[in-house]
């Protein structure tokens, strides 16, 4: 008997223009790991909700076809009854908390209590889950006082502890740093090893390729590709459905375009390395790697190789910030940015990145030190005054959007600033064009998907026409199309001489789009270097618990860091070493 058996499934939301799912047929074996990929709006989350029984029991609409979970027809079961078979985790960590548990311990025990598990067993399971998810230290904390990353871990742990045989996981890591993302996948892998069926929806294709036994691709509500990760990701149609490939495949393609042909498709950098070794490449010996014991203590100034030569637009001068409860979030941070610079700030959750951005925007005031913009201290400016110089795109678009149409939303702030009608119109038209929203200008923003609403807030910020723009996690939840749009926007802003600061956990995005990268950990900047150097600073990456993007991960296996991030340089070096 299959864990999940879907036959001829179609579903339409009320008032929708087209079905969210069309003629889906899918069988998932017990203990299988199936990943669902596709562009935003392809129907992935709807499929997850069907398997969980939330559609159509909870979200109404027209459903046809048959869905069996562990042999039971979902049409005959209540949403509550399905809980015994299917665990469900989704994207937003905040709303996944029960709202009534005042400790993490109580949060984890809540579901078990609803299942009628005896208290002794609840205690055993919760203790074990806290241990395996490294949440023991947070057991007595209020879940609402945790960071987003910690909340997401709690949400996943609260479902894993219920030990349902089937797990449906919808983009669990979109707001997490690489370290926490890896930890989340290890938890899922452990659950899978224990025999649980996993249905995962995810945009991070490296993890999809690494963990999945089968991948299905949805496009416009239809199942268009199905097979092993290799079969799906090497299908010529794959990218046309708006899905990013694993980075190793892009590297392989780039090498092939430069004459380095590999025998097989590489779904991981490790595989790529192995194939290059088979071709005759010599991997670097262990001697050439610094011994772990020799890792030096990292001082912030040690890696400050980027010294602005023109007057700085932004000067952060030895800034320290503590919250009213005494918790220090930023410690003695200094940073200078010139006009037109495009800088990425990376680091794990809680490193202080967003706090630093809020200090730049005067949403927070330094406890000591000073922030200067164009040489003027921001100490006496209100946040709204600072906003005329620094635009800030928040992580969650729903914190900002309130107007009835996209156009009204984008024009709101410039209009309130008292700009002329013509100038407001010019700015709005430009911002809508740049963000690809011209065709959606009359729509209600809340009728657009979350990933597109993000572009509404980006357009609102572009329309402010500030000298500096800060983006907080712009890539979260974006598909290939959204990412490409974002890259276009960043390049255009740079071309207009704007200074751009981007806070992100997407290392590939950073490695390909920023000339300078600032690494933060534990309230401080530990590296501020050209991006092509950043990802070769092994001790910095280790200390900040960051992943190496695919390119430097590949090159460090064969070459020293003078390869940088240049594909041409890498291909030439490979060809040279192979003696071709």
């Amino acid at each position: 008997m299959n864990a999940i058996e879907i036959t001829g499934l179609s579903f339409s939301y009320p008032l929708a223009n087209r079905p969210a799912l069309q003629e889906i047929n899918l069988s998932v074996k017990p203990g299988e790991w199936v990943s669902v990929v596709g562009a935003n709006g392809a129907g992935k989350s709807t499929l997850a909700q069907v398997i969980r029984g939330l559609v159509p029991h909870f979200s109404k609409g027209d459903l046809s076809g048959r869905v069996l979970v562990n042999g039971r027809d979902l049409a005959t079961l209540s949403v509550g009854e399905i809980t015994a078979d299917v665990g469900y985790v989704f994207q937003n960590p905040f709303t996944q908390l029960t709202g009534v548990a005042t400790t993490v311990y109580a949060e984890l025990s809540y579901g078990l209590g609803n299942m009628g598990v005896p208290p002794v067993e609840i205690r055993r399971r919760v203790d074990a889950m806290l241990e395996s998810t490294k949440l023991t230290k947070l057991a007595a904390r209020n879940p609402f006082e945790l960071s987003g990353g910690q909340q997401q871990r709690v949400a996943l742990a609260a479902i894993l502890v219920m030990e349902q045989p089937i797990l449906v996981i919808d983009e669990p890591t979109s707001q997490l740093d690489p370290e926490t993302t890896n930890a989340m996948f290890e938890l899922l892998a452990a659950a899978h090893s224990a025999g649980r069926t996993v249905v995962l929806i995810e945009h991070k294709m490296e993890q999809v390729a690494q963990f999945s036994e089968r991948v299905i691709m949805l496009h416009d509500g239809r199942l268009v590709l199905e097979g092993t990760p290799e079969q799906v990701f090497t299908d010529p149609q794959c990218e046309s459905y708006g899905v990013r490939l694993p980075e190793s495949l892009y590297l392989q393609r780039a090498l092939e375009q430069r004459g380095v042909l590999l025998p097989d498709k590489a779904l991981s950098v490790n595989n790529l390395v192995m194939q290059l070794v088979k071709l005759g490449m010599h991997p670097r010996t262990a001697k050439s790697e610094p011994a772990q014991d020799d890792v030096p203590v990292i001082h912030p100034e040690r890696f400050s190789t980027t010294q602005p030569v023109t007057p700085a637009l932004l000067e952060i001068d030895r800034v320290t910030f503590s919250y009213p409860n005494g918790v220090e979030a930023i410690h003695e941070v200094s940073l200078n940015l010139r006009a037109g610079e495009s800088v990425a700030i990376i680091g794990q959750n809680g490193a202080g990145k967003t706090t630093l951005a809020k200090l730049v925007n005067a949403l927070l005031r330094p406890s000591s030190g000073e922030v200067r913009i164009n040489g003027q201290s921001t100490a006496k400016w209100t946040a709204a005054e600072t906003a005329r110089r620094v635009g800030y795109v928040f992580q969650n678009p729903d914190d900002q959007i309130f107007n009835k149409s996209v156009y009204a939303e984008v024009e709101y702030a410039p209009k309130r600033w008292g700009l002329s009608e013509a100038e407001v119109r010019r700015r709005v038209v430009d911002a809508l064009h740049l963000t690809g929203l011209t065709g959606s200008q009359n729509l209600n923003p809340y009728d657009l998907p979350l990933s597109v609403r993000k572009f509404v807030t980006i357009a609102s910020t572009i329309a402010l026409d500030t000298d500096m723009v800060i983006f907080d996690e712009p890539t979260a939840g974006q598909d290939l199309r959204g990412l490409n749009r974002l890259i276009t926007i960043l390049r255009e802003l740079a071309a207009r001489g704007k200074t751009v600061i981007t806070i992100t956990h997407d290392m590939e995005f950073v490695s390909q789009n920023f000339s300078r990268t600032v690494v933060m950990t534990d309230r401080q900047i530990i590296a501020d270097t050209p991006t092509e150097e950043t990802f070769y600073l092994n001790e910095v990456l280790a200390k900040a618990m960051l992943d190496q993007p695919a390119f430097p991960e590949l090159t460090r296996n064969f070459f020293s860091n003078d390869i940088g991030l240049s594909m041409n340089a890498l291909a030439s070096a490979v060809v040279e070493q192979l003696g071709r």
């Binding site: 509550g80 709303t95 579901g111 009628g116 057991a139 709204a384 900002q400 402010l464």
Partner: protein, 256 residues
């Protein structure tokens, strides 16, 4: 290892929250009938009980922050708004009279009785134990969930408002200046708050479904509240005394 169950403490800390609520409500009702002199008993008793429960600091902070200023304002307004009888003091058009003083004592005393009862409950009754005690008495868990969620949503909403305020300031909307500016900022703050609240209600409901809130069958909990026969006897005695006091006062058998 973290201990999730309220550790065994003294009698007040261990007391069944339903018994505590019953006793405090009886005291409150009696206080409303008896009048100002009742405070001489009720207020010191509440201070002692809250102190035994180890929550005196919070109790005094609540009194100082909320009750003291409100009661003072109420007393002054009642004193000056009612004129009649002997004039104790006057200046220009302001006059404090016997009637004003009596009214001020009457209303302020009752307000203080209510405030004392509410703050005593806040400091003595832990919400999770209270709702668990209700569930053990057969109240539907959905009802106790709504009760808990309603109380706990206030700090969550405060946090959300702070985030939205920041988001609107970041796009150049002043929120901190004079009244007019604040009024203009109302829509940009209220609209995302309401919309996100509506969205999060749906998502929260999905989360609760995922945690088996509507799962049929028996429920268990790590939290167990003792519900002894003695507790029931105390409640019955308290209700009887409360009723007796009301009858005695109303029938003028006892005039405190």
């Amino acid at each position: 290892m973290y201990e999730p169950i309220t550790p065994a403490g003294n009698a007040v800390q261990r007391a069944n929250p339903l018994v505590v609520v019953c006793l405090v409500l009886c005291c409150l009702i009696d206080g409303l009938f008896i009048g100002s002199k009742y405070l001489l008993f009720f207020f010191p008793t509440s201070v002692v009980v809250v102190a035994v429960a180890g929550n005196l600091k919070r109790y005094l902070a609540l009194l100082a922050a909320v009750m003291l200023p409100t009661a003072t304002l109420m007393f002054v307004l009642q004193l000056l708004a009612n004129e009649g009888g002997v004039t104790y003091w006057h200046w220009w058009i302001i006059r404090a009279t016997e009637l004003g003083f009596d009214n001020a004592i009457h209303y302020t005393a009752r307000f203080v009785v209510i405030g004392t009862a509410v703050f005593t409950l806040i400091c003595l009754v832990k919400l999770s134990r209270f709702t668990r005690a209700l569930e053990q008495c057969g109240v539907n868990p959905r009802v106790t969930y709504v009760l808990q969620a309603t109380v706990l949503i206030i700090p969550q909403m405060k946090k959300r408002v702070a985030v939205i305020l920041d988001a609107q300031r970041a796009r150049g909307i002043e929120t901190d200046a004079n009244l007019r500016v604040r009024m203009k900022a109302l829509l940009p703050v209220a609209a995302p708050l309401i919309l996100s609240a509506l969205t999060s209600v749906e998502e929260r409901a999905v989360s609760l479904e995922a945690r088996g809130t509507t799962l049929p069958g028996k429920r268990t909990s790590l939290l167990q509240v003792n519900n002894s026969t003695f507790d029931k006897v105390i409640c019955i005695v308290a209700v009887l005394i409360c009723g007796g006091v009301i009858i005695a006062v109303q029938a003028n058998w006892w005039m405190p």
